[in-house]
């Protein structure tokens, strides 16, 4: 009896230890984010402790910094276009892998999924070579193409996984009930993969919004926000960066919460 008791106590100890560990890892994950936010309100040019006082000055500067605002606008543009392309091409690719057979399909599958684990710098450089051979002028458009290429694999994996799980019979049922193929796609298939599209689109947008290695090699005159931050970071840390970082954090959290809510509403 006492042995059982002891072992239960030991197991409870392990459980508590595990939970404590989880809590600490989570705390460590969020520590930098908290630091980022705290210093965005700190009334000191240098980001060191102790905190001096509360100020909104850094935010004011962000909104009067034209370069930064332009870069933010560019990042939105790049993110939206790149996401749109990845969704269209990536969904088609997922369908092609799931539903068709063609010579070289395996090579295609490997190639299209490669950027998922391939360091961005390789994608960036290979595309830089490519654009240079073609004599393209580097611009936001080349960045968009680069991001789309690097991120398609995310849409492909997500949509492919979903396609594998959806019941093919419901598409047959739709066709059986007289829906033309495009109707079946629009009214039955697309709604079934909608959350995958939504989720992967969200991921693609945020990753594109945050992308450095590909952008680094493919951007022309225009800066994206990360490139702007990248160049300012070397110049010097100012709480202005913390302010824009805080805005990004809050905005992304809002997007996530909103999208989760949206998807839940739909399920209901």
């Amino acid at each position: 009896m006492s042995m059982v008791g002891n072992s239960r106590q030991r197991h409870d100890g392990i459980d508590i230890g595990l939970k404590l560990f989880t809590f600490m890892v989570l705390a460590a994950l969020y520590l930098p984010i908290v630091v980022l936010i705290v210093f965005s309100f700190n009334d000191n040019q240098v980001t060191t402790l102790p905190l001096r006082g509360f100020t909104l000055d850094w935010y004011r500067r962000v909104f009067s910094n034209e370069d930064m605002l332009k870069a933010t606008y560019n990042s939105f543009k790049v993110g939206l276009f790149a996401t749109a392309i990845t969704l269209v091409v990536g969904t088609a690719a997922a369908f092609a892998i799931d539903r068709t057979d063609f010579p070289g399909k395996n090579v295609f599958r490997r190639l299209v999924l490669l950027p998922l684990v391939l360091p961005g710098i390789i994608t960036g450089i290979s595309m830089l070579n490519f654009f240079r051979v073609l004599g393209f002028t580097l611009s936001l458009e080349t960045v968009i193409l680069g991001h789309a290429t690097a991120l398609i694999s995310i849409v492909v994996t997500q949509v492919y996984a979903r396609l594998q799980r959806i019941n093919r019979r419901i598409e047959e049922a739709s066709s059986d009930l007289g829906a033309k193929p495009w109707q079946t796609f629009l009214y039955v298939t697309l709604p079934s993969i909608r959350t995958a599209l939504f989720g992967s689109g969200l991921i693609c947008f945020t990753l594109s919004f945050d992308e450095i290695p590909v952008t680094f090699f493919l951007t022309g005159r225009d800066n994206t926000l990360p490139m702007y931050i990248y160049s300012t970071l070397r110049k010097g840390i100012t709480p202005e960066i913390n302010a824009i970082g805080t805005i990004i954090v809050v905005a992304s959290l809002a997007i996530i919460v909103l999208s989760v809510r949206l998807l839940q509403d739909e399920k209901r």
């Binding site: 059986d176 009930l177 829906a179 009214y187």
Partner: protein, 368 residues
């Protein structure tokens, strides 16, 4: 004009090989026909060829007199009830049922009227706004049915529609389907591996084996006169025992099987003397009797030893060792509790009296 006409239909798959093999079949208007066979016999593929989900390698399909071999499913006048119902999870019941008319751009009022009528017919009017995930299995089944009949197809295809339901519900649905068939007057083609389901509902059953129809007839024909041991064993239960033709008579033969001598009707088969035959004996056409209760030496009786009794509701199934690898099964109607008490205990020797008229003999020896 035939409702369905399949001519020399052949379909192969890369991994499974030839699944439908030179199949020719005519279904009359208004018939309730069943494709019956074990899984992998090609019955579902045949249904999918009719629905248009698959296209044949050769041969042709026509529905209601029109060749639809190359017509995509959405232009065929047939509708399907799927095994797993295949309801659209993101639509409610009403939208599911109305889908076919909605994509055809029918007027909204007509759609809602017809949907209401169909839901009423399957008794689900109050569930119109529910999502499929909120329905029970039987209710989903009804929605699938309503969705398929609401478009008034020429032919309704049912792919194992009841297999996911529990036994009680299944029986109720069998009755309902039969009733619906009579009421609608549509041709029903049912695919199932459940022989009792087939026998309860169908006008005609086609037994399939390896892509071919091996027997075609009314349930009674098939039961009484199976064309092969395969059919005999598949439809109901049969004891298949090997024998040897001892003597031939005008329309019957005498067969020596194990230790008994049976007189068996030939039913037109040519079974010459000393030919090896297989006898199919129905369990319910046999009676277990105590060894002493009948005069020793009656030839049409097998002797054996009781292994075990199995109680099946109103019926008792007894397994008897008669010296063959498989036990001989006998079904006895139990009419009273007293009768159950009178059964011989396991281990006792016994005799088996067989209704000789019901025995069917097939040429050759078969291993079930």
């Amino acid at each position: 004009m035939n409702a369905i006409s399949l001519t020399h239909l052949t379909k192969s798959f890369p991994t499974a090989g030839r699944v439908v093999d030179d199949l020719t079949l005519r279904v009359r208007q208004g018939e309730f026909i069943t494709l019956l066979g074990p899984s992998g016999c090609g019955k579902t593929t045949t249904l999918r060829l009719i629905a248009g989900f698959e296209f044949p390698d050769s041969g042709s399909v026509s529905v209601a007199g029109t060749d639809v071999t190359d017509v995509p499913p959405y232009r065929r006048p047939v509708n399907t009830v799927f095994q797993d119902y295949a309801l659209f999870p993101h639509m409610n019941v009403e939208q599911n049922v109305g889908y076919g008319m909605w994509v055809a751009r029918l007027p909204k009022r007509e759609i809602s009227e017809r949907v209401a009528a169909a839901l009423q017919m399957v008794g689900l009017s109050e569930k119109a706004a529910a999502r499929p995930s909120e329905l029970s299995g039987g209710q989903k089944q009804r929605v699938a049915l309503a969705r398929a009949i609401v478009r008034r197809p020429k032919v309704l295809l049912l792919d194992e529609p009841l297999s996911a339901l529990d036994a009680k519900l299944r029986e109720a649905m069998q009755v309902e389907l039969r009733h619906l068939h009579r009421k609608l007057g549509i041709t029903f083609l049912l695919v199932t591996h459940d022989q009792s389901e087939a026998m309860v509902m169908s006008d005609r059953i086609l037994i399939m084996e390896a892509g071919k129809v091996v027997q075609d007839g009314s349930p009674l024909d098939l039961y009484d006169s199976p064309a092969s041991p395969y059919v005999a064993d598949f439809l109901g239960t049969s004891n298949l025992i090997p024998g040897n033709v001892h003597a031939t008579e005008l329309d019957s033969i005498r067969v020596k099987a194990v230790d008994a001598l049976f007189r068996v009707r030939t039913r037109g088969r040519s079974l010459p003397t000393s030919a090896n035959v297989t006898l199919a004996i129905r369990p319910e056409k046999t009676e277990v009797i105590a060894p002493e209760s009948s005069p020793v030496g009656t030839p049409a009786q097998l002797t054996g030893r009781i292994i075990e009794h199995f109680f099946h509701g109103g019926m008792l199934r007894t397994a008897i060792d008669i010296g063959l690898p498989l036990p001989f099964l006998v079904d006895t109607q139990i009419k009273s509790a007293a009768m159950q008490g009178q059964q011989l205990p396991p281990g006792s020797p016994c005799r088996l009296r067989v209704d000789e008229d019901s025995i069917v003999a097939f040429a050759g020896s078969h291993r079930p």
